[in-house]
Symmetry: C2
Subunit: 454 residues, 2 copies
């Protein structure tokens, strides 16, 4: 009769311990987003398939989770296609909705649908799960959270600067040592333009990225093998070997890209951002990195990527500017720029480096041992005072063996255990046991509140 | 080309204004849950259909959203059934997963699956969306949030008391005037027992509920029409006319139910809870109400329901004790008690009574008008100070016409607009405009921070 319960592969339950840590991350990013005037939106888990299909490439279409229509869903399906078992073609006849695949397309849909209620520039953040029917593997899930922060409807580079400020503040608060890599799509286009090889951008960035590992000769060999002419390779030598400070790199790029209008535009944009950052004196290290080539299909200006210095885990935050987010839904000329914080990876980094605070405002600070009868009622009244002081505290609900109650406190990592029997009741006190040090002391309620406050 | 974007019927987008209000509710309930030692868990949106099917009755099975299997999903479907278009039978061959329908079944599954990691009693809360393919109508959605708080693994009535304390504190913080109705399933069973009519519980409670409207004679007529004997109706006259204080009702019930063991057990439980509540001196009005008959299929002890006094909207919180939540998944004898806060209804009540705070910590407090150039850089530096003080503030990103910038501040309901030109820069000040009163004053940064703090 009884089933052995399990959950779908690639999905996760989050225990209280995990939730408290995850919420620490979410609460931190939210507080920073809000400090800069970004406000939350949420969109439904299900979107119409017409909204989702065709937005993530052919592979993405396959990875969408589709929802079976309700009721007699086969009624309208084509007999011939059913007989052929043409899964793909039948799909559109039996499913109209899918689970969201990311937060970007629903956001674009939201902006277009609510354009008359929105005051632009629209600064929003969105923290919600997304679903992908990917093959599950270590660190890759079928349900995972994205934390996106975007501003749409403004071309100002101040927005790029603001997002960099947000990155700086989030990681300072989380205590993660990071470097922000910065690039500009227009510079990459400029490089392609001066050597007349617009289809080779990815090959070029991939090859340059290997410079440290394989050396200049091998990089040039690789570029040649990808079809770049000797002349082209020669032209971009200064770019391959680009080094020095961000300012030195900018100066060199301005020289090399002198003949490319779009390239110079990219250099200008980059320089404006660097100028702002100088004024703002961020702690964050910002590094111009031409090999950064994420989202070439949609980014049109700045490209960002953030890496943790002390853990080898890839990018933990990334984003960029896109000039036509909402065009697909009929609203033209809305430029936006945004970044996405990778909650799962940030979690892993913080866990590995033990950066989560031991005392978290969400956890229980103190547990009263339940001795039943009068003692129980006394404990309830003390707890009223403790909770009024904003402290999370509980009374074990059953007057069972002391050992069982202490085990519970231990497993829940409650730092203080409270005991009150006849002696304490008469003296109007509580005995407090510090679970880490083992120390015990008999205190008044006011003293107790001071001791157990975070 | 461009699609007119929309979302599936019965689902909603939440705008920043709505989100800030919703989060105010969620943050309030969370803070109270945590104060009593409850911690969050989250479960996946998708559960295996084997977990969900058969748990909500036949109608519930139909209302589950099913996820189409990935890949060539028709391959394993039976040809004959496909040809017959037997939607129901084919379903189990092409779909293995569904969206969660409530938080109770996933919670039961969670407890059983993680029983070795959990320390009982397990106090958890869970705030997540659920999905039902119900016919959408006013106030009924296909995606909506549930806020559940439960403790499992303890029979102590202290848990019931704690949940009532939580209700008291949540609604005091939200400023909603409520009454908590309390009943006990065992009392209802006792009533049925003394008149030997266990199948008539619902009929009896429904009839009694009409007493105020239709009067005693009509109630008795209705009971007769439902098949109760004259003797049975006579026996329960004192119960139909039950009135007075909770204590008076308890005394009367104890008398009438004297011959029913289970009935007396229910009266005992009720009395213990009332005793605790007396000691705790809650503000909350608690009313013993025998017509409260929610969840008769699963509740086995206390039944709770909370109603707002000032808005006609039905129950805004409800719950009860269930003695065998996890049995269906193979873990016997785990008793639990829990309540669920109805976020959508609470939202409606607060909106209608205008109970949401005007100044919310999530909203933007101040916006700098952007005059470009030096003024912009000055504004950025002031903003650094303001944000360091924990205040949400922004700079309009483009140096466009004043009117456009003020419109933005207006629409976003930002209460203070900041202006700084050459004069302010030289004096190291900022001009602050109070958007409600229209007052303007030139302040130092320290003064500014004081003025715009909540």
């Amino acid at each position: 009769m009884a089933q052995k319960p399990s959950i779908p592969k690639g999905t996760r339950d989050f225990s209280p311990v995990e939730m408290v840590k995850r919420n620490y991350i979410f609460d931190t990013v939210k507080s920073v987003f809000q400090k800069y005037g970004y406000l939350p939106i949420e969109t439904p888990a299900m979107e119409n398939l017409s909204t989702l299909l065709g937005k993530y490439g052919e592979e993405g279409d396959k990875l969408l989770f589709k929802i079976l229509n309700s009721g007699d869903y086969l009624k309208k399906a084509d007999d011939g296609l059913l007989a052929e078992k043409a899964s793909n073609k039948v799909m559109s006849q039996i499913s109209e909705k899918g689970l969201r695949y990311d937060l970007t397309v629903p956001f674009a849909r939201f902006v277009v649908q609510h354009q008359n209620e929105i005051s632009f520039p629209f600064k929003r953040y969105q923290i919600q799960p997304v679903w992908r029917a990917d093959r599950p593997q270590k660190g890759r899930y079928r349900e995972f959270f994205q934390c996106d922060v975007d501003v749409v409807g403004s071309n100002s580079l101040l927005n790029e600067v603001e997002l960099i400020q947000i990155v700086d503040e989030v990681y300072r608060l989380l205590n993660i040592n990071v470097v922000l890599k910065l690039n500009n799509r227009k510079i990459l286009s400029g490089i392609a333009e001066i050597i007349d090889a617009s289809d080779k951008i990815v090959d070029i960035t991939v090859a340059i990225d290997k410079l440290d590992k394989i050396g200049l000769d091998k990089v040039n060999e690789e570029l040649a093998s990808k079809g770049l002419s000797a002349e082209a390779i020669d032209t971009i030598q200064p770019i391959i070997m680009l080094s020095g400070t961000n300012r030195e790199k900018v100066a060199k790029l301005r020289e090399v890209l002198a003949s490319s209008e779009i390239g110079l535009k990219g250099v200008d944009e980059l320089e404006v951002v660097l100028n702002y950052l100088d004024v703002l004196k961020l702690d964050l290290e910002v590094e111009l990195d031409l090999t950064l080539a994420r989202g070439l299909n949609y980014y049109t200006g700045a490209i960002f990527e953030v890496k943790a210095r002390d853990v080898a885990i890839g990018s933990i935050t990334g984003g960029g500017r896109y000039d036509d987010l909402t065009g697909i839904f009929g609203l033209k000329d809305v430029s936006g720029v945004g970044i996405s914080f990778g909650a799962d990876r940030i979690y892993d980094v913080m866990n590995q480096l033990e950066l989560f605070p031991k005392a978290d405002g969400a956890k229980t600070r103190a547990m009263f041992v339940n001795f039943g009868g009068e003692d129980e009622l006394y404990a309830l009244q003390i707890l009223n005072e403790v909770r009024k002081a904003g402290i999370n505290a509980e009374l074990f609900p059953d007057a069972v063996k002391m050992k069982k109650q202490m085990n519970y406190a231990n497993k829940k990592e409650i730092p203080f255990v409270l005991l009150a029997g006849e002696e304490e009741r008469k003296a109007n006190t509580v005995t407090v046991k510090n679970m880490e040090s083992g120390e015990q002391s008999q205190l008044t309620v006011d003293e107790l509140i001071k001791v157990i406050s975070i």
